[in-house]
């Protein structure tokens, strides 16, 4: 494993030079960049000051002087009570926003007592079957004061949102009092491993319902976070990440426009979730290019007139796929560079991976280290003092332009295939992903790409040296027995009636928003599977994506 190169001696090491002179994504680079490379750039039109169209340099004039980026860490494991404990810990440690991720059964819209949920409850996230789970998850949390991010991304999203609203209403708050985010990008879930539960029509229907409802009733809520990050994790290049992500965003936009909303009513609350991968300058250029592309899409393609619609707002998740289990502490350094790139690019919200993620669920210690990484950036390095500090660099501006150009070219190719829906259904997007991930892996195998500790500089490690975080082994049993008790004690007729209402509305047509009926169903303790399954059946899908369980009532 790379020993030959390491044994080649000091002379070789001394003379070693970079073998790879393209960006991570394969964009060609020059030896250096000069004023000639940006001579044709009209500063005002193309770059602009921070806070000015096309927002290449950032969406705020004073950037972090106005407010630091939100430091969020994802949590979700065990029972809702276990996750509640973790949330309180994070708040005490200084996290300024909360991020909760559901477990796999919940993401797929099945309940903890589903036969296929066995062994999965509370493993990769927290179960969110009913309002009761939401009550336990949010216990002692001041709902009106916190900014809550429900990483409900799948077709489960409208149900999770309805549970959250029903909880707030039971405490005397209105939907409009709540601040936060739903990720709500169910179309992309087919690439996050949930294709079986994300048929495109259902995904678009639930996604658009959430955006429409939040636009009309929840002015402090960000209803959608288009997840470019998960797409990138499939092995895509930086320009592909932008092109595929924007093309998905356009699908939702078209759906919401068809509901009769004006672009400027909802576009200001659109947000994105991007990757910060390991190629430092390329990632900064990518995020700057994303702002310019979005501004143009909004202004030129959709005719948005409100400057707030033109502003690309994004969170960053440092690239999980760039981390390796070998010499795992090296990941701390990878994450720090990626976080720095995100901050230099003007990020709004940042999640740093924990260094042990390629080994297991993060421990408290490693999550703390991820938060500390952000705090050192914010409070010690001084990088947050001036907006877009790299703006005007010949190299950064050229690379931003290159990435914009390539991303726009790919988006045009997608339009040429009849738009994103066709590109998804025909398998074209899948083929692009498979090709990209295979190309990357071949390069790593051949050492055309060096991954320190993996294909070079490997050492023998002690296999017993772990201290992996373990999920409460009792979580599943507790959760399933509680769900059983709840089902026995709730008002069955009320559940049935509220599901019937959902069914009627879903059958009334795609434009009928189902969220009000889902809130009522949540209040009656209808389960996730019952609510979503009712919608699935009305849309011609099986009640259960696995086709094992049938509808309990009709």
């Amino acid at each position: 494993m790379g020993e030959k190169k390491e044994d080649a001696g000091m002379a070789d090491a001394y003379h070693e030079k970079p073998a790879d002179l393209e960006t991570w994504s394969g964009l060609p680079l020059k030896e250096f960049y000069s004023p000639d490379d940006i001579s044709g750039f009209d500063y005002k039109m193309k770059i602009g000051n921070p806070g000015d169209y096309p927002y290449t340099r950032g969406i705020h004039r004073n950037m972090f002087r106005g407010r630091y980026w939100t430091r969020r860490e994802v949590s979700g494991y065990g029972t809702p009570e276990d996750t509640n404990e973790r949330l309180k810990y994070l708040v005490a440690e200084g996290a300024s926003g909360l991020n909760v991720i559901p477990d796999n059964p919940s993401i797929m819209g099945i309940d903890s007592d589903h036969p296929r949920a066995s062994g999965e409850v509370g493993v990769q996230g927290v179960p969110m079957c009913t309002l009761q789970d939401m009550e336990l998850l949010m216990r002692d949390m001041p709902l009106e004061k916190i900014s809550m991010s429900l990483i409900a991304s799948s077709t489960q999203t409208p149900v999770a949102l309805s549970q959250y609203i029903a909880l707030a209403q039971s405490k005397g708050f209105k939907p409009g009092d709540l601040a936060g985010t739903t990720q709500n990008d169910p179309v992309h879930c087919r690439y996050a491993g949930f294709r079986i539960s994300s048929p495109i029509d259902l995904a678009l229907k639930t996604g658009v319902d959430v955006i429409e409802y939040c636009t009309r009733h929840m002015p402090r809520w960000y209803p959608i976070n288009v997840n470019m990050y998960d797409l990138r994790e499939q092995g895509l290049t930086a320009p592909q990440e932008l092109a595929f992500g924007f093309s998905m965003a356009i699908l939702y936009i078209q759906g919401v426009l068809e509901r009769g909303l004006d672009i400027d009513e909802f576009a200001p609350r659109f947000a994105f979730y991007c990757s910060a991968h390991i190629d430092f300058f390329e990632e900064i250029a990518k995020l700057r290019a994303a702002r310019r592309i979005w501004a143009k899409i909004m202004k030129e393609r959709f005719g948005a007139k409100d400057p707030r619609s033109w502003k690309f707002k994004f969170g960053v998740h440092t690239a999980g796929c760039s981390l390796v289990p070998h010499q795992a502490r090296n990941n701390i350094i990878r994450v720090a560079y990626q976080a720095l790139a995100a901050v230099l690019a003007g990020v709004q919200s940042l999640h740093c991976c924990s260094y042990d993620e390629p080994i297991a669920l993060p421990t408290e210690e490693s999550v703390r280290l991820a938060i500390r990484t952000q705090q050192i950036l914010a409070y010690e390095t001084g990088v947050a003092r001036v907006a877009d500090p790299l703006g005007g660099s010949y190299y950064i501006e050229s690379l931003t332009e290159q990435i914009e150009h390539e991303a726009v070219r790919i988006m045009e190719a997608i339009d040429g295939k009849g738009g994103m829906k066709d590109a998804l259904e025909s398998g074209w997007i899948d083929a692009q992903m498979d090709e990209a991930s295979l190309r990357y892996q071949r390069e790593v195998e051949n050492e055309d790409r060096i991954v320190v500790g993996l294909n070079r500089f490997r050492i023998e490690e002690d296999p017993r040296a772990g201290d992996a975080h373990r999920v409460n082994p009792e979580a599943e049993r507790l959760q399933v027995s509680r769900l059983k008790l709840l089902k026995e004690s709730r008002d069955e007729n009320a559940v049935k009636e509220s599901l019937r209402e959902i069914k009627l509305r879903a059958e009334a047509g795609e434009h009928e928003n189902l969220i009000p009926a889902m809130i009522e169903a949540a209040r009656n303790y209808a389960t996730l599977a019952e609510v979503l399954g009712t919608v699935r059946v009305a849309m011609g899908e099986p009640y259960d994506p696995f086709e094992i369980v049938s509808h309990p009532f009709f």
């Binding site: 079986i196 297991a360 295979l438 195998e445 772990g466």
Partner: protein, 135 residues
């Protein structure tokens, strides 16, 4: 790799975990090395996996775990193998596995655990394994 008939390997994901990039890439790279790979895809149960493996008469089963279910699902795979009287079918595991779990998995009867390894390490292992044993 061994001459004669192609070595057949089944690669699968178990449970609800959808992280399939590694499994798919490994399947492609093994095919490029001359292995016959049947990629069973997502959402398999241990029963589904072992039944398919027996039906397809594979020489080895590879399972990719990324969400912490390896300790709960692997024993079920081994039980199923035993039930089907196929205890001699070797099982290898890869993915996100805490180092201290490696020994537990080996004790359960798993032949080899790859923790975020390169494909060439898996290929090296397979070449070696099948050159001594044959398919």
């Amino acid at each position: 790799m061994a001459s004669g008939r192609h070595v057949r390997i089944m690669i699968a994901k178990l449970g609800l975990d959808g992280h399939d990039r590694g499994a798919k890439v490994l399947a492609s790279l093994l095919r490029a090395e001359g292995y016959e790979v049947i990629y069973l895809g997502l959402y398999n149960t241990p029963e589904m996996l072992i039944q398919s493996a027996i039906q397809e008469d594979v020489d080895m089963v590879g399972i990719s775990f990324h969400s912490g279910e390896h300790l709960t699902l692997t024993p079920l795979v081994m039980q199923e193998l035993h039930k089907q009287e196929a205890d001699d079918l070797p099982v290898i595991i890869g993915g996100i596995i805490p180092p201290e779990d490696e020994e537990k998995l080996l004790e359960m009867g798993v032949s080899r655990v790859f923790r975020g390894s390169l494909a060439r390490e898996v290929i090296e292992y397979l070449d070696d394994y099948f050159s001594t044993k044959g398919p």
